[in-house]
């Protein structure tokens, strides 16, 4: 069940569609001599969604920040798109991060920029013509159903709307990997469902690889047991005993990866901690 210790064999060759998008190989990190994550190994394959579960403060957000190189591991290797980011200079990481979309815990929108400039930030940096930025920002906002907010500032939006703008910002350049850091944290149940539906839509419509950090089990199981229906433009429950084949779980406990497997394996787990966590 726990493939954490030996499940990852990094292949730093030229990336192809079958290569894993993310590989963690025996990664450890600590702060002020206190270990936070120890010997973490796992992979994210193309088009796969890994849901990262664990109690608050266990290091889930740290793991995401390691994935896009915002933090560097004390030991071990991290490969993203076949390149070892744990050995890259900060200057070189900026290019890799261009292909990764990140949705931060509180949205982390630039409060002095309008929604249009927030969503089109990457395009602004690439000196894309203004008309194209507006068109692509509008398209991304349409995806999250917030078309009318182009000229608003983040302070004029509700918490749920800010989170949706953050998703629009993450997807505007069609990244190959999206990292969601507690996208529903602190939101009411209805807004949370809307956000989860958007995450699912990105998985099932664009088939983007992703890591979703959450400590809300209802969100995790909703992602595993529903799929997005393009015709009705809403999510539908999968038939009983069926789960999304591209969605699997990781679980952290006391800095270690205690579970790496499918939804069924998670539910059937006899591990006392996992059993208690999901019951």
């Amino acid at each position: 069940m726990n493939e954490g210790a030996n499940g990852a064999t990094p292949q730093p060759s030229s990336p192809s569609s079958t290569d894993p998008v993310v590989v963690f190989d025996d990664v450890s990190i600590g702060f002020e001599q206190k270990p936070v994550l120890e010997n973490i190994s796992f992979q994210v394959r193309t088009g796969e969604m890994r849901i990262l579960l664990g109690p608050a403060g266990v290091g889930k957000s740290v793991l995401l920040k390691l994935t896009n190189g915002l933090l560097r591991p004390d030991s071990g290797r991290i490969f993203v798109f076949g390149k070892e980011i744990s050995a890259m200079r900060e200057q070189d990481l900026f290019e890799i991060r261009g292909a990764i979309g990140t949705v931060f815990q509180e949205g982390a929108l630039f409060d002095s920029l309008t929604v249009r400039d927030n969503v089109g930030y990457r395009l602004l940096e690439e000196h894309v013509p203004d008309d194209e930025i507006t068109a692509r920002a509008s398209e991304a906002l349409r995806f999250v159903e917030l078309e009318g907010t182009l000229d608003k500032f983040p302070s004029e939006l509700s918490g749920g709307m800010r989170r949706r703008v953050a998703i629009a910002r993450a997807i505007v350049t069609n990244p190959k990997l999206i990292l969601y850091d507690s996208p529903t944290g602190g939101l009411d149940p209805i807004t949370s469902t809307t956000i989860i539906e958007l995450v699912m839509k990105q998985r099932d419509v664009s088939h983007t690889s992703s890591i979703v950090v959450t400590h809300r089990l209802q969100d995790a199981f909703m992602l595993a047991m529903h799929h997005f229906n393009r015709t009705t433009n809403q999510m539908d429950a999968l038939p009983p005993h069926q789960t999304d084949p591209n969605t699997s779980f990781l679980m952290l406990h006391q800095g270690r990866l205690v579970f790496d497997g499918s939804t069924k394996e998670l539910v059937d787990s006899k591990d006392p901690f996992i059993h208690e966590y999901i019951s």
Binding site: L70, T102, F104, L109, Y121, R169
Partner: protein, 259 residues
């Protein structure tokens, strides 16, 4: 136990100096790397330079005035009231103009930089910027350094001029001195080393203000309370460093030019 505390404090101090040197070095090296972020440099120049004009003009004028007022009283005792202009221009150009202008700009802008960047840190906007593929040292720190160094240079020249003008106004209107004599002695006694000293200092002071402001902003921890702490530390340390650097530059240039 006490040794452990001293040891930890010393390590923290050395680490802070190392981080400051790295941040400053990387930000300066970014001037020579593309993209240059010209519009950010101009925006910061407007905020730092044009925004500081009123306080620099006001403080410069009244400092020049009070210098004339105080020095004339003493110089009269020795029958040397005619040298009021010389004393005001010397003081303004070599010391008071650069130092007071730098302290004013530091109070206004080092605090602004620390609080702005600090707020961005605690709301994860800096992380978001890095995650979006932008180097915050290039986008946020480098433009502030360039803008502060360039604008402080011109602000100090303006402050010197306004200060001498303020001294002249007080000398003529309140002390009954001859205006022509005041301005004549003001510029006639100035020599190249005096002007050089007055123009070299703002370059260093501008660098200190921007790097210290950005450094404390970028290492903010602990929410809104941390932002307040960073802001205070930025103003305190930039002011202290300005005064220490002023002494060192003065000593160095006096050593070379003999005045």
């Amino acid at each position: 136990m006490a040794l452990d505390t001293i040891d930890a404090a010393a390590k923290r101090g050395v680490l802070a100096v190392q981080e400051y040197a790295l941040l400053s070095g990387r930000a300066v090296s970014n001037i020579f790397r593309k993209p240059l972020y010209r519009s950010d440099i101009f925006m910061q120049a407007d905020i730092i330079g044009v925004g500081s004009l009123p306080i620099v003009i006001l403080t410069g004028f009244f400092l020049g005035g009070v210098l004339a007022l105080q020095s004339a009283a003493t110089l009269t005792q020795f029958g040397a009231a005619a040298f009021t202009g010389q004393l005001v221009s010397f003081s303004m150009i070599k010391e008071i103009g650069p130092v007071v202008t730098a302290l004013m700009v530091s109070g206004r802008n080092a605090s602004g930089m620390a609080s702005e960047l600090g707020s961005m840190i605690v709301t994860e906007q800096i992380d978001a910027m890095r995650a979006l593929g932008t180097d915050p040292l290039k986008k946020l720190v480098m433009p502030r350094i360039v803008a502060t160094v360039v604008m402080l240079f011109f602000l100090v020249i303006l402050s010197d001029a306004v200060g001498i003008l303020g001294g002249g106004f007080v000398s003529v209107s309140m002390l009954g001195q001859d205006g022509s004599q005041y301005f004549h002695t003001s510029y006639q006694s100035l020599q190249f080393p005096d002007i050089l000293q007055g123009l070299v200092k703002p370059v260093f002071f501008g660098f200190i203000i921007a790097t210290i402001g950005c450094f404390y902003g970028m290492r903010t921890r602990g929410g809104t309370q941390g932002v307040g702490r960073s802001t205070t530390q930025a103003v305190v340390w930039s002011s202290i460093l300005i005064i220490i650097t002023d002494f060192m530059i003065s000593r160095f240039l006096i050593g070379i030019f003999g005045r």
